[in-house]
């Protein structure tokens, strides 16, 4: 590197730092920046376009060595996240635009804009030791001066570079919709690949599969705590179906949540994380209970002498939907308040189980058996009943993404049970896992801290 280049780089660094200083406020998202992004989206959609066209050039390496090719791979990950959000049409694998050279930047953006791009996302990458940092800059290419919408720095160990790319995508979605995306999330699920049903988890896009249990018994029904630090699940690891909680990111021993005679199943954390609803048959038949994690006290909510099971909380924590056969005949979905009073029936016909309340509160997805299993959704007031899956095979066991815009579910439409995703309206159904070994019982995590 010669003297001139060094000087240019030093100047670029200084300029970058100055920019950072002035943009420090932008990191806390002042209202002006957010509304600008939303305005761009609205304006583009008003023209009849269905999506925002975004160009994500390869990132620019500012400091350090990019031995892993992250400057090229990270924009791909971000691009796929934005495609998955269904809000963007994405172009990637484009040479990096000049960092801190306004003239070259403008020329590149003018090119993109004339090709139809509405948004440009630039990433300035620095590798220092075992940590990687990306400063993302989001530009409005529909404005004549290609105005900067927002800028943010994200820094993590280099082993978690994919998370940086996901967090960038989530920030982009936040800038345009007012709510962060869901790319930095995990999906926990049951895998039969080892011959036994064990818990595994992976990034929401299928990368980074890790084993969570390895006890060679039957492990079922994982659910995330709202702080995303723990999973509750049912396991036969001690012979009988008990409820446990484990901490997949911490070296902590597993806890027994409930180990009564009979079944201890169907865990569901309340939205504030203080309570766990569950099914216990300790009183003679399966009933819905709530465990207070702080006090260890159990409170029974249902009293019907037949099956009551599968509780799911409303996002307010004030209501619980559940499955009961109290109507006689096939199981149906009911709703009660969080103390167990005011029980009302929600579904009318079919064999209905596995209710899951949307984080948005306006829909409950459930599995209905009318021949095969299919996913349906209904409003909490019983309105807006709609079918979400159809076609050959079974579709079951849906779980909502934390923004309520996507679902993961299991389907055997291609042979064995694998996980699929879809949008909240049932569209864009696509496979997530491929096997070998069946994957079932998926649970979408909250956004990772």
């Amino acid at each position: 590197m010669n003297q001139l280049t060094r000087r240019v780089r030093a100047l670029a660094l200084l300029a970058g730092l100055a920019l950072l200083a002035t943009l420090a406020g932008a990191l806390s998202r002042p209202p002006a920046a957010r509304s600008q992004g939303a305005d761009v989206l609205l304006n583009v959609l008003a023209t009849g376009a269905k999506k925002l066209n975004i160009v994500i050039p390869n990132f620019t390496v500012m400091t350090g060595n990019d031995t892993g090719g992250l400057a090229r791979s990270m924009p791909q990950v971000t691009g796929r996240d934005l495609t998955f959000s269904s809000l963007f049409s994405v172009v990637t694998d484009v040479p990096p635009v000049a960092a801190n050279d306004p003239g070259a930047l403008k020329a590149a953006f003018a090119n993109f804009a004339s090709a139809g791009a509405h948004v440009g996302l630039q990433g300035l990458m620095s590798v220092r030791g075992d940590r990687t940092e990306v400063e993302m800059r989001l530009y409005d290419l529909t404005s004549p001066d290609f105005r900067l919408i927002s800028s943010k720095k994200i820094e993590l160990p280099s082993t978690q570079a994919r998370r940086i790319a996901h967090k960038i995508a989530d920030e982009v979605v936040l800038q345009f919709t007012g709510e962060a995306g869901v790319a930095d999330t995990k999906i926990a699920y049951v895998s039969a690949a080892s011959g036994n049903k064990e818990l595994q988890m992976m990034d929401y896009d299928g990368a980074g599969v890790t084993r969570v249990t390895s006890n060679s018994s039957i492990n079922l029904s994982p659910v995330w705590s709202p702080d995303s630090r723990s999973l509750a699940f049912t396991s036969y690891m001690r012979g009988y179906p008990y409820l446990y909680r484990l901490f997949p990111f911490e070296n902590r021993p597993v806890q027994v949540l409930a180990g009564f005679l009979g079944i201890n199943t169907s865990p569901a954390f309340s939205p504030d994380g203080r309570l766990v609803a569950m099914t216990l048959s300790r009183d003679g038949n399966p009933e819905v209970y709530v465990l207070n994690l702080a006090t260890g006290a159990f409170r029974r909510l249902t009293t019907y002498s037949g099956i009551d099971t599968e509780p799911t909380w409303s996002p307010t924590g004030r209501e619980i939907a559940f499955v009961s056969e109290r109507a006689g005949g096939a199981p149906q979905i009911f709703v009660m308040d969080a103390e167990g009073a005011n029980v009302r029936r929600l579904t009318q016909s079919g064999f209905n189980t596995q209710p899951r309340w949307s984080p948005k509160g306006d829909a409950i997805v459930y599995t209905s058996r009318q021949g095969n299993f299919d996913l349906w959704a209904i409003g909490p007031d019983g309105s807006n009943l709609r079918r979400m899956t159809a076609g050959p095979g079974n579709n079951e066991s849906a779980s909502w993404a934390p923004n309520g815009r996507h679902l993961v579910f299991q389907s055997n439409r291609l042979g064995s049970y694998q996980l699929f995703t879809m949008l909240a309206d049932g569209s864009e159904q696509q496979p997530l896992t491929r096997g070998p070994g069946e994957s079932t019982s998926a649970a979408w995590s909250p956004r990772l801290p």
Binding site: L220, G239, V256, T265, T279, G284, A294, S397, T440
Partner: protein, 187 residues
């Protein structure tokens, strides 16, 4: 945020050695699990029945309050025949009642512990079937107790649809899987 991120390791294997028995491979985890967790007090360990709070409903019916033997300690016995159930039902049908009568007779002259398994076919969803299997085992137990078999000898366990006898998608296979199965263990 960066510090929180460092706790979220991308290290591939997070094998949890939870309970020291049967998991001798991971002494490091064993050491970590020795002290009780500092997190909020966990609910009951399986060896004790936790006390109920005043907000609980009526206390449990007469049932063993100590930890039952492990299912793996029980063995099948040709003298105890399976019974079967209608779809989504757990009541005892006439023909099956006769089988249970014979089972009860044998049990009253052979003083073993009994484990009753409840099973389901694949046409219910996973969680619901755990409850349905539980009801089937319970109905079976209630019938035997009514025939004079001591309740304290009997433990029930539901496997839902997790341990099917067959996996074909046929009425014949489904009927086989909707069953209560008996295992015994010497006292």
């Amino acid at each position: 945020m960066a510090h929180r991120g460092s706790a979220l390791l991308a290290v591939p294997v997070l094998v949890l050695s939870l309970f020291l028995v049967g998991c001798p491979k991971r002494p490091a985890t064993t050491a970590a699990s020795a002290p009780p967790p500092t997190a909020p007090p966990a609910a009951a360990a399986p060896s004790t029945t936790p006390s109920m709070t005043p907000s609980m409903a009526a206390p449990a019916t007469a049932a063993p309050s100590t930890t039952p033997p492990m299912p793996s300690e029980f063995m099948a016995n040709d003298n105890l025949k399976d019974i079967h159930f209608d779809f989504d039902k757990y009541d005892i049908r006439g023909g099956d009642a006769k089988i249970l009568d014979a089972n009860a007779t044998w049990l009253k002259t052979n003083d073993n512990l009994v484990l009753i398994e409840g099973h389901c076919d694949e046409r219910g969803t996973s969680e619901y079937n755990l409850a349905l299997g539980e009801r089937r085992a319970k109905s079976t137990m209630n019938y035997l107790v009514a025939q004079g078999v001591q309740a304290a000898r009997i433990t029930i366990i539901s496997y839902g649809k997790e341990r099917p006898l067959c996996t074909e998608h046929t009425e014949d296979c489904w009927a086989k899987n909707r069953r209560a199965h008996f295992l015994v263990k010497a006292r």
